[in-house]
């Protein structure tokens, strides 16, 4: 039972930070199906930096993960410029752009990974960066509370980082002038223009923040959960994050709850499979659980939701 909470939270936290990335972009009025690509590219940059640093800092060093997370933050943000350029500047169809960015991310990172590996090892071209696993820690005191306490046991350090980022992101969106403009860009961009804001710039920055947050989510999966970076990073968690955002009605706090629910469903299903003593073949069936739940929940929630009004439209200053 404890394991369900521990694994659930470690899965939910990166998912949440990615969903937050999606929220930033969509609240500013740019449809974001590119979360999957952003997280993959961010993870690639983070993993690349980690692989470069590991020989210098020593294999066991724990500072690498923080540097990798920072690198993923920057890398995801820079990669998101493509989506920003296509959607905001070039006024391309935002759904197409998202799909393009995803496909490009898969091919680009796969190609670069094998090219870099070849250059580093000389001859051997594998499409994997082997990464470490970060240490875990337990918060004394709270972790002794029955049931809920398990959430604070054996935590990955990134879970704390993500909570900090989440608070900062919430503050930026709901308590600052920039956040106000950003949300208005998604509802009524013309009014932002009238009030003296710059719609193009705000949206572009929002997409970059979106990429940066998604990148952090990606490196968390790569560094700690799978302990390597390979094309397997494209497991569809980016899309899962989008689904979480839709249930969360494009709001940060409800989205966090949905992500936690996904995480618990996934780890719960897996533990159930182990607990029932089924063969490993059956784990595939339980792996479907988050996706089926997504579809099921969407059937209930999709109609009631209120996406930002101007989402998906290129900004047209002359429109009434």
């Amino acid at each position: 039972m404890e394991k369900v909470f521990i694994d659930g939270l470690s899965f939910a936290a990166p998912l949440f930070v990615m969903a937050m990335g999606g929220i930033y972009s969509e609240k500013s009025g740019v449809t974001n199906l590119a979360v999957e690509g952003f997280q993959g590219f961010g993870a690639f940059v983070g993993a690349l930096v980690a692989v470069m640093l590991m020989p210098i800092l020593g294999d066991g060093s724990q500072t690498v993960i923080y540097i990798a997370m920072a690198a993923a933050f920057v890398g995801g943000g820079i990669y998101a410029c493509i989506h920003g350029l296509l959607c905001v500047k070039f006024r391309a169809d935002q759904v197409i752009s998202g799909v393009v960015v995803n496909i490009l991310a898969v091919s680009l990172t796969t190609f670069l990974t094998s090219a870099v590996n070849k250059a580093l090892t000389g001859g051997q071209s594998s499409n994997k960066f082997i990464l470490g696993v970060s240490d875990r820690f337990t918060i004394p005191g709270i972790s002794n509370i029955p049931v809920i306490g398990a959430l604070f046991k054996n935590m990955y350090p990134y879970e704390i980082v993500i909570v900090v980022i989440a608070v900062a992101a919430w503050y930026l969106m709901y308590r600052t002038r920039f956040g106000m403009h950003l949300r208005a860009c998604g509802e009524n961009p013309q009014s932002v223009d009238a009030a003296g804001g710059n719609v193009t710039r705000t949206r572009f920055i929002a997409v970059m923040i979106s990429g940066a947050l998604s990148g952090v989510g990606g490196i968390c999966y790569a560094y700690s959960i799978s302990a390597n970076f390979s094309p397997n990073i494209y497991m569809g968690y980016g899309y899962l994050a989008i689904a979480a955002m839709i249930f969360g009605n494009w709001n940060i706090l409800p989205t966090a709850a949905v992500c936690l629910f996904f995480g618990l469903a996934k780890s719960g299903g897996y533990q159930l499979c182990l607990g029932m003593g089924l063969s490993s073949n059956y784990s595939d069936l339980f792996m479907m659980l988050p996706y089926i739940l997504t579809l099921l929940l969407l059937t209930f929630f999709s109609k009631k939701n209120h996406p930002p009004k101007a989402v998906g439209e290129a900004y047209d200053a002359g429109k009434r």
């Binding site: 799909v99 490009l104 070849k118 595939d284």
Partner: protein
Amino acid sequence: MKPKQKNRFASLLDSEKWSSVTIPALSVILSLITASIMLLILGKNPATAFLSFLQGSGFVSKPGYGGGGGMLTDFFTYLNVLAPMLLASLGFVMAFKAGLFNIGIAGQMLAAGFLATAIIGYSGLSAWLAKPLVILVGAAAGGLLGAFVGFLKYKFNIHEVVSTIMLNYIISYLTGFFINDRFADSLTRSMKICSDSARLSWTDVQIAGMKCSIPLGIALALAAAFVVKFIFDKTVFGFELRAVGRNPICARYTGIKVGRRIVVSLMLSGMLAGLAGVTYYCGYYNTIVPKSLAGMGYDAIAVALLGNSSPIGAIFASILITIFQNGSNYMSSTLGVAKEIASLITGILLLFSACGGYFRYLAHRRLERAVDEEAQKAAAESDAPEISENGKEG
């Protein structure tokens, strides 16, 4: 004279008649230039690389061949890949014209291939019965999945991109489970091979002393392209689909049943994807690796966008992109560049295709400016003839 030359280029890009050809051509040229630059950075000769892509696809003969092989062998293998690629991109076009994004082609292909292999592939029916049945099962499986996605969109307002992607993963795990549990080959761990009588390619046919595998799917794919073109150009149904794609609210006011059109268009799209699946898994291949979705399902989107989302454009675009995908192995072995560069080129091509609208917009603006300038000049000329003399010289 010089600005006129520039404007001719712009007017080619912007003309109603030619822009559907010139814009994709520009995207292709730009991405080939980008790819060449990348190859140069890696220290390879781009010309040899592009030549080896063509050699790998059987368009240009290689310096040497293995036993029983030849240029025709490569070419027929190429056609074997081309058939599912074209069908899959037609599937995307079918939905895209109605304003829908069927990202689930990969999953629909897998489901169709799996069901066709499991139901018909092991049945031991004769070839005359088995082959049509495989096609039928494939189309039915894909069509049902597509219709389901359309139903979710129509009834519950679930965006088809999200639902198809969820279905992709569900199908991938579900078929993976059944393959591992029931149909796994004990040696290769992939699905037991589909019998030759059910396979949609005639394997090991001797043509001019070369062993070839002749795809039946290519005829199917070309026929499908013209059927799709006919539906969109000549039928009321096709017109209604396009109307829904352009403006669903307007379409509703004119009395078109938008919800039903959405379901039907996604069903047809899924059927084409299902056909792509059977030509891929029971034609080009004869087995399925569990839990892996075909990258072709996504490449098909690139093909459709590059082909201006028209069925005939898709034929040309799939010919081009399949050269890269199919020739990548040979290219990789001769040049020592990772073969992932093929998907990278596809990705870049996709990126430039997505900018197509912007290129056209730029060209349009340039022409408008030229017209404005001319008008200003003419105005200046009529006002003060002396100044215009100077203007002409400058």
